[in-house]
Symmetry: C2
Subunit: 275 residues, 2 copies
C-alpha cells in the first residue's frame, strides 16, 4: 500500500515525478531481442533497469499486452515482478462498467496483478468507479481531460458553464471524500491552459499527466499550472522514452531521455535533501 | 464478416433478437463443474449448446476473463471457437484510448479473437473510436445511455438542450457515414423512455440493449420504442439466463429462460417464414 505521503517521499528522494509508460509493442522491439523466449519482457526488463534511477512510476498500457493474447498477460505479470519495490505501478486500462463488472476488473488489476493504481473512464458514472475507488489502499486515476486531439468532442460538452471534464472532477472529488488522496485525475499535457482550472477544483489530488514527448507536451508547461503545494503530479512519457532508440543501445537511449526529463523536474525539489 | 442484412436474416430465421451475455464468474460455476480442467469453458460450452436455438448473438464480458489472468484468456478463446458459425459475437470490452492504443485493442478483439463486434466507450472522442470503426467488416457498439443506476451522473450533462448521450449518438453517426450499419449504440433497457429519442437520432443503427432480466428491463418495454423498420435491436441478458439455475440442471434452466425471452420476441417476426 502506497499513500500520497509515501509517493511524495519517493519523488523527493529521486527529485523526479516521472512515470515511464510501458507501451511495449512487439513490432517495435529491437531486432536483437526478437529471438528471446519472451521479447516483450526482455525489452521491459532492460527499459526498467535503465530508467529506474530517474522514474518514480511505471505505467503499462494494457492494450499492448492484450493484443498478444495469453502470452501478453504472462509478459505483463513477469514485468510487474521486476519493477523495483520503490516504484509506483499504474495499470493504464481506462476501464469502467456496471458495478459487478467493475468489481471484477478491480480484482484483476489490484489482486491478480497487484498494481497500485488503475486508470478508469468516467462515462458510466459513480457505480462504475466505486469498485476501484473503494479498494483499500489502491488508487484510481479517472479520465478528466485527455491528451488526444479528439478529447474536445465530448469533454468540452458544457452544461451551465461547466464543461464535462470539470463536472467529472468536481463530482468525483465528492465521491472520494472517504478515501482522500486515492483519487487522481488524468489531465493531458497537451492542454496546459486547462490544467490550472482543474487544479483549482481538486487541490489535493494527484494528476497523471500523459502527452509529454511523442504527443508534444513539455514538463515546464504542465508543472507550473498543474502542481499543488506538495507537487501532486506524475508526468508520463511512453514512446518518447522507450522508443528513443531502436538498435542494440535502445536502453541507453531510453535512460538518456528519462534523465533529461528528470533534470527538468529536479528544480521542483530544490528544498529536498540532496539525493 | 457479417452485414446488417446478414444479421437481420439470422434474426428472422430464429425469430429472435436475443444476445446471451457470457459473464461467467468462476465463483458462480456450479459445483459439479469446478473439478474440470477449464470450468469456465465447460460452463460456457453447456450454456451455448442449451441456448443456441433461441439466441442470435453471444457477448462475453471481458472483465470476467481478465479477472482470471492468462487462464481466463484461454477459456475465452476456447469459448469463441465453439460459438456456432451463425451467431454474432460481441466483445463487451468498453475500451477507448488514444489512437495508437485503440488500434491495438482493435487488433486484440478483431484479429487475435475474431469477434464480430466490440463495445467502445466514447469519452475520448473520435480518434479513440476510429480504429475500431475503420476495421473492415467489423462492428462497434458505442456506449450511449447505459443501464446502470449512475448513468445519469454524466450522460445527462446537457449542452444547449442536448444531453451528452444524444450528443454521442448524433456525433458518432456522422463519423460512421463511410461504414453505415457497422456503428451501433448501447442503450440500456432500464431507460425505455429515452430509447425512442435515440432511435429518432439514429434510425438505421443497431442498438445493443442490456439490462433485461437481472437489471429489471423487459422485452416489450424496449422493443416498441427501440426498434426500427428492420428491427435493428439486440436485447442482451446475462445473469438472468446463465445463472437461472445453480445446480446440475443449470443449462436446462438457462435454456428455459432464453426460450421464454425468445417467445416474447417472436411476435416481432410475424411476417417471417415459419422457422
Amino acid at each position: 500500500m502506497t499513500t500520497p505521503t509515501d509517493l511524495h517521499q519517493r519523488m523527493r528522494a529521486k527529485r523526479s515525478f516521472l512515470c515511464v509508460g510501458l507501451d511495449t509493442d512487439l513490432r517495435h522491439v529491437p531486432e536483437h531481442l526478437r529471438q528471446c523466449e519472451d521479447p516483450v519482457f526482455e525489452f521491459n526488463r532492460r527499459i526498467i533497469a535503465a530508467t529506474a534511477p530517474y522514474a518514480v512510476a511505471y505505467k503499462p498500457n494494457l492494450a499492448f499486452y492484450e493484443a498478444l493474447g495469453p502470452s501478453g498477460w504472462r509478459s505483463l505479470q513477469r514485468t510487474l515482478e521486476i519493477i523495483p519495490e520503490d516504484s509506483f505501478t499504474i495499470a493504464d486500462a481506462k476501464r469502467g462498467d456496471i458495478g459487478n463488472t467493475s468489481d471484477l476488473y478491480a480484482r484483476a488489476f489490484f489482486e491478480q496483478m497487484n498494481f497500485d493504481a488503475v486508470t478508469v473512464a468516467p462515462y458510466m458514472g459513480r457505480d462504475s468507479v466505486a469498485p476501484f475507488l473503494n479498494y483499500p489502499g489502491k488508487w484510481v486515476f479517472l479520465l478528466a481531460l485527455t491528451s488526444n486531439p479528439s478529447a474536445a468532442d465530448f469533454q468540452y460538452h458544457t452544461d451551465a458553464g461547466q464543461p464535462l471534464y470539470e463536472k467529472v472532477v468536481r463530482t468525483a472529488t465528492a465521491w472520494a471524500a472517504e478515501a482522500p488522496g486515492h483519487l487522481g485525475f488524468v489531465t493531458g499535457a497537451t492542454r496546459p491552459e486547462q490544467l490550472g482550472a482543474i487544479r483549482a477544483l481538486a487541490p489535493e489530488a494527484f494528476f497523471l499527466v500523459p502527452g509529454v514527448g511523442a504527443q508534444g507536451g513539455t514538463v515546464s508547461a504542465v508543472a507550473e499550472p498543474g502542481r499543488n503545494d506538495q507537487l501532486g503530479l506524475l508526468v508520463n512519457s511512453s514512446r518518447g522514452i522507450i522508443y528513443a532508440g531502436s538498435g542494440e543501445d535502445f536502453a541507453e537511449k531510453a535512460a538518456e531521455k528519462a534523465r533529461s526529463l528528470q533534470l527538468q523536474m529536479a528544480p521542483y525539489f530544490a528544498d529536498a535533501p540532496a539525493p
